[in-house]
């Protein structure tokens, strides 16, 4: 066999192996988490409050808080992030101001999440006096996700061919009409992929929320006040494995981990499939 053919065979095998390794890792990961975790998930577990000392506590409030904080942070970050991304792609003129904005976005994107958490603590918990709160956690999470949303939206908009803009403008559309009716709908699937990414991060973020939303839950359940403390599923795992006194800490952590994984999977599928169908319809298969 010639050398080129040999290399071709070797490369194919190596790359195939890499794929196999990934699948194996994922399978091992799923088995290790879902194995011990799934049996713990019961209706009682999902609806009871956590106990501090005795066994048998649940994660009801934490589940609620996870949705609440994620939803609230998306409410803040989506309009600003997507809006800024559209601005950067369609309206910003090349120049110093635009470069400064881009630099700021990149800088914010590289801040470690725990540092953002500390910032949130200094600002929301201490300076504004909110103490540990759902709102503080949501706002700091929004800070974490903003740069990704801006960058992702800008790239998604730029990927839309210029011919669509030309075609729209040549029909007598204004710039806003062109952006909102021709360009943005075309970029929407990519934008939504970014949103899925960002929401997934928010669901699982721990470091930030430890320092802003805290590790306790309100006595009332469900509690809709945004200023109450908000331990989430992710922070619960951390807390229960590092500080808790309850004897069933390991079981609680396993169950919470399994639930988080399932939530993220459902969320991803729930967004990815409709996006895929929408895309197929627009592009005519």
């Amino acid at each position: 066999m010639s050398r080129a053919r040999l290399m071709d065979r070797v490369a194919t095998m190596v790359l195939w192996l890499a794929g196999l390794v990934i699948i194996t890792l994922l399978a091992a990961f799923l088995i290790r988490i879902l194995g011990p975790g799934l049996p713990v998930l019961s209706w009682k577990f999902l609806t009871t409050k956590p106990y501090s000392v005795t066994a048998g506590g649940g994660i009801g409030p934490e589940l609620f808080n996870t949705f609440y904080i994620t939803g609230l942070s998306l409410l803040f970050s989506l309009p600003i992030g997507i809006g800024a991304g559209v601005y950067m792609a369609e309206y910003a003129k090349p120049g110093r101001a635009t470069n400064l904005i881009r630099l700021s976005v990149e800088a914010l994107a590289s801040v470690p999440s725990i540092v953002l958490g500390l910032f949130g603590m200094i600002l929301f918990v201490n300076a504004l006096g909110w103490s540990f709160s759902i709102l503080g956690g949501a706002l700091t999470l929004a800070l974490l996700n903003l740069p990704v949303l801006v960058r992702n939206t800008e790239e998604a908009m730029r990927a839309v061919p210029g011919t669509y803009r030309e075609g729209s403008l040549a029909l007598g559309a204004t710039r806003w009409q062109t952006v909102s009716k021709a360009v943005f709908p075309t970029a929407l699937p990519s934008v939504l992929t970014g949103v899925t990414l960002v929401a997934g991060r928010a669901i699982g973020e721990t470091a930030i929320l430890i320092y802003t939303a805290g590790v306790t839950v309100s006595r009332r359940f469900p509690d809709f006040r945004p200023f109450s403390a908000g331990e989430t599923l992710a922070t619960r795992i951390w807390y229960v494995k590092s500080e808790a006194l309850v004897p069933d800490a390991d079981a609680i952590a396993a169950g919470t981990g399994a639930l988080l994984l399932i939530l993220v999977l459902i969320f991803n599928l729930g967004l990815t499939l409709p996006i895929y169908w929408y895309q197929r319809r627009r592009m005519g298969k």
């Binding site: 011919t163 075609g167 029909l171 007598g172 009716k181 319809r281 627009r282």
Partner: protein, 253 residues
Amino acid sequence: MTEHSRITAVDLDLYYGTFRALRSISLDILEHRVTALIGPSGCGKSSFLRCLNRMNDLVPTARVVGKVLLDGLDIYDSSIDVVLLRKRIGMVFQRPNPFPMSIYDNVAYGPRIHGERRKTVLDEVVESSLRGAALWDEVKDRLGKSALGLSGGQQQRLCIARSLAVKPELLLMDEPASALDPISTAKVEDLIRELRETYTIVIVTHNMQQAARISDYTAFFLSGEVVEYGPTGSMFTNPKDQRTEDYITGRFG
């Protein structure tokens, strides 16, 4: 039958930065006629076309000196509404660019952005525009399907229908058939001949036979200038300028 002028360029210069792409162009486009702009690559014919509906405004370095008169008013005057201008002057591009939406939504895009919401009116406009573009029979059963599923020739006729839907007075076509196969090209050419009854058409083409086939008037562009402009028949059989003759006979370009 007297021929009226529809749009007139008066001493038009176009600069891309410091490069003078168009030099003192004065051209009278006549109503209900097909005017062809021919010339070698880079001669300025497409740039000139884009001046007529101010599409060059989109190019940051482009600068226009001179006037383009539509109904006696300079379209580059600051009081002119560019959006309305582009409604009156439609454009079809070299590569078909249907939006990634259904056929219906593509054609209805124009009327919708100009405020039409009533379904009955939109249905009627979509049908008449698609008929006007000789595409209705081929797509009437699949108006809801994506426009990207059509063939190249069909897509280009869809773009023509889309332009017709806003009921323009002028139609600018930038090499509309150059990306199409010969059969689709023939269909588009037939269409242009029919459209002349209702619209004024300016078409850029690098295909001289096409210009000879479908146009009433031809302007020969060279290095940013109009070398010759006149009735197509006499221009091709009896060109006045040596450069025109050289180009037409294929000695260059």
